[in-house]
């Protein structure tokens, strides 16, 4: 799960090539990796790939700060 998300961010969504690759604990939101549009695309990707629905009230910083947070969130839905 972690690798799928990392790969998708690195290859499709990052505003620029990420030097040294993305880590699961990297701050996606404050570190300039994803812009608002990128984040919306990531949520769509997660919904489609892991077959879950991200409810509007779940779209909060705590669930999407890092790839690790995202994985925890997806697991909690499963």
């Amino acid at each position: 799960m972690e690798q799928t998300i990392i790969k998708h961010i690195e290859e499709e969504l990052a505003s620029e090539e990420i030097d040294g690759g993305l880590e699961a604990t990297d701050d996606l939101l404050g570190g300039g990796i994803l812009d608002s549009l990128g984040m919306m695309k990531l949520i769509t990707f997660i919904e489609e790939t892991f077959n879950i629905e991200v409810a509007p009230e779940d779209m909060v910083i705590e669930n999407f700060m890092t790839v690790e947070n995202i994985c925890e969130y997806i697991s909690s839905k499963g």
Binding site: S15, L29, E57
Partner: protein, 520 residues
């Protein structure tokens, strides 16, 4: 008397030493602390031989250190130049070279970006705000904050000295730097405080990045009044529910942003069930706020007053239209009237004033006007309209390039652009710049970029013709755009066409392309 931006912090530090000047997440800084820390940064820059008129870069996301960086650089006598961390490295390098930046103030979060820029950019001398050392001199914030101030001598800063340079896209494919002085920046800060009656008890939310002129309100007007500015984190801007919580928790009294953020709060933030009774002014600028959406927001927050603010970065701000009750019809709301110390004319193509009520191009003369474009006298000249009063004396107006007319109440209505500049999600984009970027890709023979409306959203779509002998993928072009354009100017889709629809004179028929794209 206050005549430069530095005095804003010096004065508030005397009057409200213990008050919180800026807050970011769980961190905050008082006016007294801000005054000391910005002096320490200034001392640090002065010891690196920074002189009046020099340009110092700020490469930061929204964070608490932004306010120290701004006032520290200003105190050193230099002008600050915000560098958007989302810019591709190519663009960062252009900016550093164009502006002759030798010193950059940053934070540890930007270390990857800094590393890349430092390795490719020979002119940089010092990086301030990084803990890990780079190939060039690096000074951490910890080192800055222990700098003794006994020998620090404040620089004598005049109103006419340069204060900041904001880069925006230029139609030729290279960005242009808009130069403001302490006078023009302070004129803006003062007019805002006066117009919206800022008080020291206000809590002002700043959601704008430093390179966006909207940020001047949070960074200069609020501290001028002794108010607290809440710097909204990048993360909050991506999650309307979190943002809505923050605005409620901080008890924000003055909000200023592009309409898009307010629309997101309205539709996705769940603001219906929260308490925003503290909000007294909702200010918006940057693009047209659809009247329907504005009305919906005004009905939810009936206690607040609203102001539609207009003004290109070259003028900071110049007109406003205030509303207390929701507009009745769905007609676009006016951009209103010019504020104090400002006048305008509406001109036809031959620079003659049009009759009242007729369409024309808006030119504005104001205390908030820029000094000119950095390192580009020809462009500065072309952007000005000089109205001769007497030999050797003229009034200088800025040509906004915006089409306007007066309505029956003598209020200005915004009708559109004269040229190919567009606004997308509040960002100013020159269509020509995106097309020129695509044309720089080897094998692209023609390019037409259009704005397509998908339901409520506007998107940038590029169409190109290519040399068929070369194997060019749409994804290659997308990568090329990502590497050379700010992220908001990267087209959503790039489509390779076999041919373009043309007008009878052989020009690319953009209206037809729009239809083709809609049909896809």
């Amino acid at each position: 008397m206050i005549y430069n931006l530095v005095q804003i912090v010096e004065n508030s530090a005397k009057e409200f030493p213990e008050k919180v000047a800026f807050r970011f997440l769980n961190e905050s800084i008082t006016f007294e602390d801000l005054n000391i820390k910005s002096s320490q940064l200034a001392a640090c820059l002065l010891s690196r031989d920074v002189k009046k008129g020099d340009r110092v870069g700020i490469l930061m996301h929204r964070c608490l250190e932004t306010c120290i960086a701004i006032y520290g650089i200003l105190k050193s006598g230099a002008a600050y130049v915000p560098i958007d961390p989302f810019l591709p490295s190519e663009r960062v390098k252009f900016l550093i070279n164009d502006c002759g930046i030798k010193h950059v103030v940053t934070t540890n979060k930007q270390s990857k970006k800094i590393k890349k820029v430092v390795s490719e950019e020979e002119n940089l001398e010092t990086i301030i705000g990084l803990s890990e050392t780079q190939n060039i001199e690096t000074i951490s914030w910890e080192e800055v904050f222990v700098k003794p101030l006994q020998e620090y001598k404040p620089v004598n800063i005049l109103a006419d000295d340069l204060s900041y340079i904001l880069y925006t896209s230029g139609s030729t494919g290279t960005p242009k730097g808009i130069m403001h002085t302490h006078a023009s920046g302070l004129a803006f800060a003062k007019l805002v405080v006066d117009l919206y009656a800022f008080k020291h008890t206000d809590i002002v939310a700043n959601s704008a990045p430093l390179h966006f002129d909207v940020s001047i309100l949070g960074y200069c007007s609020a501290p001028l009044a002794g108010a607290t500015t809440v710097i909204v984190s990048d993360a909050h801007l991506k999650f309307p529910v979190s943002l809505a919580d923050l605005v409620e928790k901080e008890k924000v009294t003055i909000w200023y942003s592009v309409p898009l953020l307010l629309i997101e709060l309205l539709h996705k933030g769940g603001i219906q069930n929260k308490d925003y009774t503290c909000m007294r002014w909702v200010l918006f600028a940057g693009e047209v706020f659809a009247t329907k959406q504005l009305r919906a927001l005004m009905e939810l927050w009936p206690h607040a007053e609203y102001s539609n603010i207009y003004g290109p970065t070259e003028l900071n701000q110049c007109t406003y239209y205030n509303l207390k009750v929701p507009p009745i019809t769905d007609e676009p709301i006016p951009i209103g009237t010019t504020w104090e110390n400002t006048e305008y004319m509406i001109l036809d193509e031959n620079d003659n004033s049009v009759n009242d009520g007729d369409e024309g191009l808006l030119v504005v003369r104001s205390a908030t006007m820029m000094k000119g474009y950095w390192n580009n006298m020809a462009l500065t000249e072309a952007s000005l309209y000089k109205h001769k009063i007497a030999p050797g004396f003229e009034h200088v107006y800025y040509r906004t390039g915006d089409l306007v007319k007066l309505n029956e109440n003598n209020e200005l209505l915004f009708l559109g652009r004269k040229d190919n500049q567009i606004k997308l999600r509040g960002f100013r984009i020159e269509i020509g710049e995106v097309e020129n970027t695509l044309l720089k890709f080897d094998g692209v023979t023609e390019a037409a970029v259009i704005v397509a409306n998908f339901q409520e959203e506007k998107e940038l779509i590029a169409t190109v013709l290519i040399d068929e002998k070369l194997e060019i993928l749409e994804s290659d072009l997308k990568t090329h755009c990502k590497n050379n354009l700010p992220v908001y100017a990267v087209p959503k889709d790039i489509l390779i066409f076999e041919s373009f629809p043309r007008t009878s004179s052989g020009k690319i028929n953009r209206k037809e392309i729009e239809k083709i794209i809609k049909a896809l």
